[in-house]
Amino acid sequence: MSETVIPYMVKPHPVTGIPNGKFGIWLFLASEVMLFGALFSSYVLIRTGMPTWPPEGGLSSEVLNVPLATLNTAVLITSSITMVLAWASCKMGSLPRFRLWMGATIALAFVFLVVKYFEYSHKFHLGHTPAHDNFYAIYFTMTGLHGLHIVGGIVVNGYLLGPGAKLWATDPEHFTNRVENAGLYWHFVDLVWIFLFPSLYLL
């Protein structure tokens, strides 16, 4: 059995002008836009159909924890720049610096999840589960799906920091492309939060 190698992982494909991995990740992100788009659309539909929002009265910013969400926004933005720096370190040929910045990115992702855990457990403690009303159903669905994306990012970035880094020794350019693709995904997760934060917490 001959080994099948995916072509154009380093060199740009003659038709698209980019490596196949990068094209693939952009197509994946396009599908992600539709996934989150459907939820945003549902959110608008449900919210405009309610006489008051949140249904129990008051303001979203009073019901949800704005300071913690602001902190988490800053955490994700910071993790985006550390991700860029991890990729730039690869570009400049330094694996140790890549390890440092990628480690920081993963650590910040965990910080985000820990903060989210405190938010969630406080809501559950008050009996504000997804079944409580439409507001919490939407809040938990959207932040929950986003949180799963954070977990997915930790898995991929963890792979690149750990066993995946072996590729650096044999094909540094290919490895750098993988880091770039993981970065594109990670920035997208940050981007989704940029819209989730005001939509759910502030408006």
């Binding site: 698209t16 549902s42 730039a88 970065g183 920035h187 934060f197 005001p198 408006l203």
Partner: protein, 105 residues
């Protein structure tokens, strides 16, 4: 030779990354600050969405390198944007039904 040129290229962009990072943090502070002004809902939604779009634009343009990307990716994103817009406009169909006078909906 080519490698040093690449290093310089990355280094040149480094400043840009930090500027965008600071801009994103500032815009986050602005959007939270504005929410304390308790503007009327339509105005608050407009302001928050404008700030979020600017932030998303910065992330996409600089961190995701969309500012200097290949045409094929712009094409993919254009199609995505069209379908995303359709998806967001779908709820309008329900209000259309209300106006056409269907009681009990």
């Amino acid at each position: 030779m080519a490698e040093t040129a690449q290093h310089d290229d990355v280094r040149k962009h480094m400043g840009q990354y930090y500027v965008v990072f600071v801009a994103l943090l500032c815009l986050t502070a602005v959007t939270v600050g504005v929410s304390y002004l308790h503007l009327t809902r339509p105005l608050a939604i407009t302001v928050a969405l404008i700030i979020a779009t600017v932030k998303a634009g910065l992330v996409a343009a600089v961190f995701m390198h969309l500012i200097s990307e290949r045409k094929v990716i712009y094409a993919v994103l254009l199609i995505t944007a069209v379908f995303f817009a359709i998806l967001l406009l779908l709820p309008n169909l329900t209000t259309f039904e209300h106006h056409s006078g269907m009681p009990g909906t």
